[in-house]
Symmetry: C2
Subunit: 794 residues, 2 copies
């Protein structure tokens, strides 16, 4: 489909064209006003330098295009009574979306001090990119937004996430030609192979080619039109091209394009829902080519601006100092004929608002963009159903993630009707041993299937694509629109979404301070296939640093858990799935792991976040420990318990305390993290003066960074992953990183005063055991039987 | 172009077909052998369980396809005397590439103990995925590789990076259909808009659709063929389809496809180089559809395996325990007729090696894959030419990155003939104020140009695309093939490539231990537009955590610098551009910044990495300091110097030492980082018992994590970015994060014994100054003149 301004028949009647254009002009006026003005918003007097902000920080380039799309979305929402949400991808789109929200009234409803009149307009203008005001990007503060326009790449995956399980929702998504160059955006075009036309809503991508990024042409804007057309068809879309720089002509063709697209979407949904069509739909995409900075100054200081990269930011940069610039700014503002758009009190005139829909149909007022309003508690079953029985610690083994899989299966089953829970992951659900979920639902898949395929399901709620970015974007969009989910991911490759989760945490940090934003379900990561059991995948798959990254972020929004066995994983997962407005990172193994504590004990232990395991040490209530063996993580816990056993055998009179830490933020001071322990608690657990040998799952310095303020910190000795990795056996991985039981015993001997001489023989035995292991694996390729078959509580 | 097995005329003569197939069978045999066998490599006796490895850890699925491509690349390299490199993208491709390297002899030349005979074959088999052996992925240890196959997504951008400025090189690039789903890979298809057919070599992507990832069908493999064809045409390529599961037929069609592709590449290069063609070439791409695990077991335990996702890993999993599996493995191995392929001594027979090229034409022996061999020192000019004059500290200001831009311009000019230096960045070269480089070269661009464009250049060596992933991939490929470069990036968005730089550092860590790998140029980041001057972009653009991420990695390979002014930036950049085998992160501002020290002082200061700035404190050689004000980063340095000035004015008898840290790893213990200071040096700088108020550029706990072992650590008080960000003024950013001069003075007063009472009035004055600033910016939108116009050394 190509709708060209030259050939298209007029579709709008004169009135509609006039009112649409009035709305667009009003939005453009308000966008320019936000960038420039701090007084005289209606230009009731000639523009003077002191009306202009001293720092001009906005970006005009993208605004007219976004205003045009908002205006035309208004038209079709109203005409068709659509339930719609729009994801505004382009960077620095703030002025445009704020302008439209103010026009439609949703802004004043959200922020009552910014009234829809001259006083409010003055506030709207001044606050923009001003201290104490609002950002230049579409942001959490923006009504109707689920997407921050600052870091580019995630608009389309957010849009798909929003559309999932919202069959009546239209999610429009404006993609800038800059953002379109990013990897995450490029990958997310294929999301249409996962969108169920029966249970999911529609996504209408609007690729806005205004031609330029910051200082360069955009790649897609410089493709010959047929080549871009092939690309979009190759992505599985049916492109509708709208090109032009004459406002009236573009109004006509864009209106027609929207009508064509929405008719097509309706037909595709009808076919799938009523006629049983199963062929993957070829959804429409609108390609909108209009000039960057359209309607702004054509030339400034003799250089072309509108339609070029020079329109990206502030076209007239010296307004306060250069009278010519000031004159041009006033002319530019007056070119929108504000007196026709706003009455004397600054209220938008009826013509301007003719296209605006009512109530929650307005894009700035849809509850889908404030998903917490729609959120229902997840129906979580009783954990005892899934708990593994533990008669004594360490007598049996289970694969923790497989046990969790049983729970997730029932959550999937319980939400089969509600459809508000999804599991995402880069093709690793089964590899991470969560495959029980396939008993309750399949893997979303709309592409071709073959007989050998398993668990593919056009209506499935497990989402697998080999793109961590797309998984993350889908899940964020899903959560932000009021649903629940879990992202299961190889630990090392969670770093792929470091920057995305950054932005999500920043979003949460801001929304937690906005009273009108209702809390949303937490973003839950299950990091399995972790560093200690990537012995077969090797060095590239070994990286436990995602939690370091997370713990740099706003403490109020981040939680990190290291459940040491199956029951603790159940307890932690249950907590994470009930929580709101957090990013929860749960690190848990998929390999068989000793069952240490009962479900009841696990509940208490996880609630406390850290505690003494009396049964593992020598605690008898009569004496202080000589040493504390602390652990966080499943493999470190196993090694600490093995070390405790060795100490009991070889140094039976040593008083050993074992402390297990599930919730790593407990180590932080109470003033630095909501979960932080008081010094009183910390000292009670770890003592202030005894050596603490801490076996930690990740990079050892994280523990120091969390605990450096504690009185006993100088006695803290941490073992962890030292970036020494390779393809080897599981036990060799811990040996190479000095996290093994033998090394831990040696650490105790080296640190407990007086033990060095007395236990020199034991220390030598430990050294020997390490060497014996080293020699064995090089011949046999497996761990020594005494390690592989080691049992703690048999 | 569609080359179909049904219609293609045979192109290979019988001999050629026989020898190609022999080579392919030999490679397949060797791949299976690596996965399974630890003895009896030639099957000279019946296969017994003890010949089989106890842990079966390889991945068969991708191997036959890679072997096929290697075999056919051999053919065309030899036939056309090509200078070729291949990037092997698919995960777990190790067995295939190792098999081929062993066959062609490059493996034994690299690792003389793995001889090209039965003994060597036994070693080759056993070492694979075995403790002390080699990884399952194509890895740094693999001859001929510049690309680790573990984390997927970067194959194509690596290939383009290798091809840049290598006009005679053909870079083949095998892209798995799993990897093709990732964002970085999806974005990198557009690299062809940046490849100069005159000065760059050719990239031949080979999209290998074997249909499955781990447990799922791959998206691209399930597109209807015409849709995939449109996608690839939309990417600007000319696809050549090869589909089949009959070996002879596929040999014929793949040979024809390679010939077609290479003829086309030669024609395009000729047109551009000899005939002056300037139209962007439509380069070929080969789409190879063959079954996953092809030639492996068709069925195992009654379930289909070859051609399905079940062939991904180890098709026969219970060989040591299940006699039927053992029998099937032996039959599978013998199906390649090893006795025809290897002589009695295990040496490949002449037929097998007929297609193998000679010497450095072999893919495993090309020096381009061991780029350090080709590396030449960069012609770096004398820094004094660019140094800013400093008569006294803090009397003038410069934009540090702009000064660096002048240096880079001359490096660009000096390498105009050699073409071995590139600058990459996501459309930010000018935004980061490095635009002087455009005097020496332009921005690489092969797409359409318009009259308003500036600095676009079909032969340019600045590479800008709005994809940090693609920038990083290009630069890595460029460096790995023996050239130099710099990546300039907004600080916050460096996190986008967290995971990529992880893999590059892991690569360096391994190659540094491989004697046959020659050192390559360091990967240099210039992080500018940093957290403290993202006041206008707001919270989403404020994140200084990339250095935290980097400092978790192998200390031997990572360096982080915070030059505080223009001359120190010159010195650091010079050092970084001369260095080898590092990842250097340089954090430096682009905004006007005081010039603190002369070029000569900067050289000394940067070489030491940290030092006392006597002129900034009260040092007179007669007394110990009462307090140490330390700083790292340009904005913290300014605030510390302003605080020192305030202290001099208000508390003139206080002895203040100012320490500036450029090389942050200097704070680490000498045993933990090669740049780490001895305790002696550290204590000399920071004292062991005086309060240290440390103003740091990033997250404050990083400093604690580096310095926690120091004697004086308990007196260390760090200010930095606390994840409190917004759109505001520059000074308000430091105030909100308690890094401002007034807060630093208050910190000193709070920490120097006896000062709290004596200086209560001064402390109050500081509080008042903060409040006055707060009120001012809310009215004026700019920093208070006393802050904005503050001058230190006037």
């Amino acid at each position: 489909m190509s709708v060209d301004t030259q050939q298209a028949p007029p579709r709008l009647d004169t009135d509609e064209l006039r009112t649409l254009d009035a709305h667009w002009r009003a939005a453009n006026y308000l966008a320019v006003g936000q960038i420039y003005l701090m007084a005289n918003p209606l230009l009731t007097e000639p523009l003077r330098p002191e009306h202009v902000k001293p720092r001009l920080l906005g970006h005009w380039g993208t605004s007219p295009g976004l205003n045009l799309v908002y205006t035309h979305l208004n038209r079709v929402i109203k005409a068709r009574d659509l339930n719609a949400l729009c994801v505004w991808g382009p960077g620095h789109g703030g002025p445009a979306v704020l302008a439209n929200s103010w026009l439609e009234g949703s802004y004043s409803e959200t922020y009552p001090d910014v009234t829809r009149d001259a006083a409010g307009m003055a506030r709207l203008f001044k606050q923009f990119s001003f201290p104490g005001g609002v950002p230049s990007h579409v942001a959490p503060e923006t009504p109707g937004s689920i997407h921050e326009g600052g870091e580019l790449g995630y608009a389309l995956s957010h849009a798909y996430g929003a559309a999932l399980d919202n069959p009546d929702l239209l999610v429009a998504c404006v993609i800038g030609d800059g953002e379109a160059e990013t990897g995450p955006l490029a990958a997310s075009w294929h999301s249409n192979k996962f969108l169920d036309p029966v249970h999911d809503g529609a996504v209408l991508p609007i690729l806005h080619l205004n031609g330029y990024k910051i200082a360069n042409p955009a790649v897609l804007a410089r493709l010959p039109e047929p080549e871009l057309d092939e690309l979009l068809r190759g992505y599985g879309h049916d492109p509708i091209q709208v090109t032009g720089d004459d406002p009236d002509a573009v109004h006509h063709t864009l209106a027609e394009a929207f009508d064509t697209a929405l008719d097509r979407i309706a037909a595709l949904q009808r076919a799938a829902r009523e006629e049983g069509a199963t062929e993957r739909p070829r959804w429409p995409v609108i390609v909108l080519r209009t000039p960057k900075g359209w309607t702004g100054p054509a030339e400034v200081d003799g250089l072309p601006v509108a339609g070029t990269w020079r329109a990206h930011q502030v076209p007239l940069a010296a307004v306060r100092d250069n009278p010519e610039h000031l004159r041009e700014l006033e002319a530019w503002l007056r070119s929108y004929r504000p007196e026709e758009l706003f009455d004397a009190d600054g209220r938008p005139r009826p013509d301007v608002l003719a296209c605006v829909p009512d109530g929650t149909r307005r894009l700035g007022a849809t509850p889908h963009a404030n998903g917490g309003l729609l959120l229902r508690d997840l129906p979580l079953p009783d954990l005892d159903t899934y708990a593994v029985p533990v008669d004594k610690p360490g007598a049996t083994r289970h694969e923790p993630t497989r046990v969790l899989g049983d729970l997730l299966q029932d959550v999937m089953a319980a939400t089969a009707g509600r459809r508000d829970f999804r599991l995402v992951g880069p093709d690793e659900t089964a590899s991470n041993r969560l495959q029980a979920v396939y008993e309750a639902t399949g893997k979303a898949w709309q592409a071709r299937t073959l007989q050998v395929d398993e668990h593919l399901d056009r209506h499935g709620r497990v989402m697998e694509i080999l793109s961590e970015h797309t998984c993350q974007g889908w899940l964020e969009g899903y959560l932000l629109t009021g649903r629940h989910g879990l992202f299961s991911c190889y630990e090392a490759f969670a770093h792929i979404v470091d920057s995305m989760v950054n932005q999500h945490i920043k979003w949460l940090r801001v929304t937690r301070r906005l009273p009108w934003r209702a809390p949303i379900a937490s973003l839950n990561y299950l990091l399995t296939s972790h560093v200690w059991r990537q012995d077969h995948n090797g060095f590239s798959h070994q990286d436990p640093g995602f939690v370091d990254h997370i713990l740099n972020k706003s403490p109020e929004a981040v939680r990190v858990y290291f459940p040491p066995d199956a029951n603790t994983l159940l307890s932690v997962a249950d907590h994470a799935l009930r929580s709101r407005d957090y990013v929860n990172v749960v690190v848990a193994g998929k390999q068989p792991c000793f069952d240490w504590i009962t479900m009841d004990q696990a509940r208490v232990h996880c609630a406390r976040g850290a505690g003494v395991w009396e049964w593992a040490g020598t605690e008898d209530g009569t004496r202080e420990p000589d040493v504390v063996l602390a652990c966080a993580g499943d493999v470190p816990t196993q090694e600490v318990l093995a070390a405790a056993q060795l100490l009991r055998r070889h140094l039976p009179d040593l008083a050993v305390r074992v402390v297990n830490v599930v919730d790593i933020a407990r180590l932080m001071p109470a003033g630095e993290h909501p979960h932080g322990m008081s010094d009183f608690e910390y000292d009670g657990l770890f003592t202030t003066d005894k050596p603490v040998v801490f076996a930690y799952h990740g990079y050892p310095w994280l523990i120091h960074r969390l605990a450096y303020r504690r009185t006993g910190h100088r006695h803290l000795h941490v073992r962890g992953y030292k970036e020494i990795g390779t393809t080897t056996t599981p036990f060799d991985m811990v040996v190479r990183n000095d996290l093994d039981r033998y090394r831990l015993v040696m650490d105790v001997i080296d640190r407990v005063p007086g033990l060095a001489v007395r236990a020199a023989g034991v220390r030598q035995r430990m050294e020997d055991a390490r060497l014996r292991h080293h020699d064995w694996i090089r011949t046999h390729g497996t761990d020594l039987p005494e390690v592989a078959d080691w049992f703690w509580g048999g």
